[in-house]
Symmetry: C2
Subunit: 496 residues, 2 copies
């Protein structure tokens, strides 16, 4: 699971207490899969660890190719028709198809086999020397153990379990394994377009990410979009002594502070006019799902040492709204002591999370209009000396291209069927979230194919994703295999 291309050490909470998988395994139809896993535990872990031993940075083309080759063998060994979807100097997508039946619907299961860069000195071990640590919650430590090779190996093991049970799959199964997700999926859109004719499906399932913070299994029906911007305000053309020129030379930090305070409140309210006009109301199904979500706020506030939260609702509800976040602010340099000077510039880095039907284009337009209406002279490049001299207030803004949001109708037949299918493995503890707070490339599948996309994560939330000592809990992996098998076996039966 990529998070806007940035390494995040604190993506999901490490909750020391209460961290236990609540899946009870009591669902119908998962007994054969669980029996298979129990019987083939060593085999599954062996394949997993062999695969984890291959260094897998997307930028390391020789090694990433070795991963793709290994995956090719792993899928062909299972009788899956496999091909590499290639572009020059790009990690290939490994596309593997099970024998299909035209009378059944087709589902593509997405996972990725590349991993985040590592800072070796922060690891307790070689990140590509997978290490099994026994204990009350047995784990394997390695880069990509949870993000996202667990899903790759888990899906293949689930397919083995399905075959071993001699049950017919309820849907046609394809596996789509990407090789540069952690690098920002820079070619995913092009690959989807180029190979569109081989990617026909009725549903995409994103097998990536961790489950609910309290340890309950999770389904996710969307993700927020994101667009980032840098905003710079200007003072004198060089730092000026604050005694001689302070409160005469305009201070860009003060300008920026006032600007930020006019963009949003400390309660999270966004002050850009018409910002929420394109936000569609929650559906009845979304409202119901939110009502059923366990409220983790007390636990999270304790964990994060928070005396208050922004907004008025629990975090899982707040993420149904757009958000305006300040990622960084800087002005006046770095180092042990600041100069007592009026700085020349100040810069804020923001990220805006969007929900349907907002788009990066709409948000950019609203924000720029607001800045102009506030009286700023807006530039997209560093202003010239003449621009600085001739405008009282200059602001430079630089946008990223951004992702749109994506949300699958939680009430659609496919969604209901999916919940029912997974519940067979997860039982009543299954948590259904209308959206993830973060942003994923799920919209690319929706944009290209106009098909629903559903997220089915399996990793423990305390997996150190993107950080050192990444790990997966073995029981979570095995529960995940049961969930995958449940989807293979049941989805088509519930999907009317």
């Amino acid at each position: 699971m990529r998070l806007c291309g940035h390494v995040l050490f604190a993506l999901f909470v490490t909750l020391a207490a209460g961290a236990q998988q609540k899946a009870d395994g009591a669902g119908s139809g998962t007994a054969p899969a669980r029996a298979y896993v129990a019987a083939h535990q060593q085999e599954i872990l062996k394949e997993f660890q062999d695969f984890l031993a291959l260094p897998n940075l997307a930028s390391d083309l020789p090694n990433i190719q070795k991963n793709a080759d290994a995956l090719l063998k792993m899928t062909e060994r299972r009788g899956l028709k496999t091909r590499l979807l290639t572009m020059e100097n790009v990690p290939p997508v490994v596309l593997a198809e099970a024998p299909s039946d035209p009378s059944r619907r087709t589902v593509i299961f997405y996972a990725h086999y590349d991993g985040q860069p590592v800072q070796r000195d922060q690891w307790k071990q070689d990140p590509w020397q997978p290490t099994l640590v026994k204990g009350s919650d047995e784990r394997i430590y390695a880069r990509s153990a949870s993000d996202d090779k667990a899903a790759v190996v888990g899906l293949l093991a689930a397919y083995d379990a399905l075959k071993a049970s001699r049950a017919e799959p309820s849907v046609n199964i394809k596996f789509f394994f990407e090789g540069e997700e952690e690098a920002g999926s820079p070619h995913l859109g092009q690959i989807l377009k180029r190979y569109a004719d081989q990617l026909n499906a009725d549903l995409w399932v994103i097998c990536d990410g961790p489950i609910y913070q309290n340890g309950q299994p999770l389904l996710v029906f969307g993700s927020r979009g994101v667009v980032t911007a840098q905003i710079t305000t200007f003072g004198p053309n060089r730092p000026l002594h604050s005694g001689h020129y302070g409160n005469w030379a305009p201070n860009p930090i003060v300008e920026l502070a006032h600007l930020i305070s006019r963009l949003r409140t400390t309660e999270g309210e966004i002050l850009i006019p018409h910002f929420s006009d394109s936000v569609r109301p929650l559906t009845a199904g979304e409202k119901k799902a939110l009502e059923n979500l366990p409220n983790l706020d007390p636990q999270l506030k304790q964990e994060f040492q928070l005396g208050r939260t922004e907004g008025t609702r629990p975090v899982a509800e707040e993420i149904m709204k757009p958000s305006f976040n300040l990622d960084r602010i800087e002005g006046g340099g770095y180092g042990p002591n600041p100069a007592n000077a009026v700085p020349s510039t100040a810069t804020a880095y923001i990220d805006i999370r969007m929900v349907p039907n907002q788009t990066p284009e709409i948000v950019r337009g609203q924000m720029e209009k607001y800045l102009i209406d506030m009286g700023y002279f807006l530039v997209h490049q560093p202003p010239t000396p003449e621009e600085r001299r001739s405008h009282a207030r200059v602001v430079q803004i630089t946008w990223s291209s951004g992702y749109p949001p994506q949300r699958t109708d939680i009430d659609a037949p496919v969604s209901r069927a999916f919940v029912q299918a997974v519940r067979a493995a997860a039982g009543t503890s299954l948590v259904v979230m209308p959206t993830l707070g973060g942003s994923t490339p799920a919209f690319m599948f929706e944009q290209q194919f106009k098909k629903p996309v559903i997220g089915l994560p399996i990793a423990n939330f305390d997996n150190n994703q993107h950080a050192a000592n990444e790990n997966i809990r073995i029981d979570y992996l095995f529960n995940g295999i049961a969930s995958y098998t449940a989807v293979f076996t049941n989805l088509g039966n519930f999907w009317h």
Copy 2:
């Protein structure tokens, strides 16, 4: 001239055009001094360059002692009674006294012989290998050329000129040469106290700093006080993914931006209640001086590329008021790309410039009361987890001890006499400023001795003070010598 202990590269403006000394030398009584300087030019420059060749960082005790020893010789050679005012492991003050007459008033002329640290790679030459560069404005380049060895050598040359003229000085003359001004004068207060009985005087004259930005000679009757603070706001105890927790976990940058916007406006207005209550009104003399000040705003706005200024009056008037400056802001880390995360803290560095009768104590009290009244839980140390959890809004503030402001009554007999005395050398172009915008240790002399303090700078404003390639214009040095001699000769005669 130290500026709150910080190296400032842009202290005074480099104004390419219009940079010419306007002193016309037409004042009465300076002809002998100018004749002396003309006749002894080479001798003066030789002594100056020998002195500049001695490395003079206050922290470099063996070399700073060599400077003091050289100075001892330079003063004794002139028949001045000299002693070193010492403290262990502290650069000594060199105190030199001319023969005195109890019927005359006594004036101590202050300068400093230590210099700022150097960044050698930014210099065109060895900073302690003084280099004379001929041209339309002949200059000597070296560390301390202008700040402040020009004053030291200039004062001694002025004394030579006085003696050569066989005129009696109008006041008793003492020279007080400090050796750690650029390190923040950390022991000056103690030295003044310890050697108070040797430092009796009716006036202190601070011979340091550059003249007016348009090149006119300058007298300064005060400086603003300064106190600095760091203000930190708090979000989650570690950075949290902005998609999953943004606009739920309180954003400390947003909190800080709103806080700053409640502390001051973008027009420089300070919003802390009662902040200006202790500011004494301008005197009639100060008002008159301000009216006579050349307005440099158009020139400075052009130079600094400013489309507006804060406040409503020219810079020289604005600095008569207190100021609230943001020196630096930071939050969300450094590096090429910010994480899309809610940061854990954000910090602003402020400096507050005070004018009479404000004090650091008064300002600290007002600011803290305001923060508490705004609803912040105020701490002076990093808050504990329990403090973070139990208070909605926590702010940490850390203060410097600060300097009080200092201002000598511009209408006092000594002040009027001083203006008249210097005008003898500088003519009608003399600029009289009621205060410097910056902060100096002048208050220490006032506090210890309850005597007036007046600033008499001589250096060109484009002297690269504190930066690489520091320099002094030779004509400014020679004009300075004429000014000093004018004070020696005339001050007592005008001072009734």
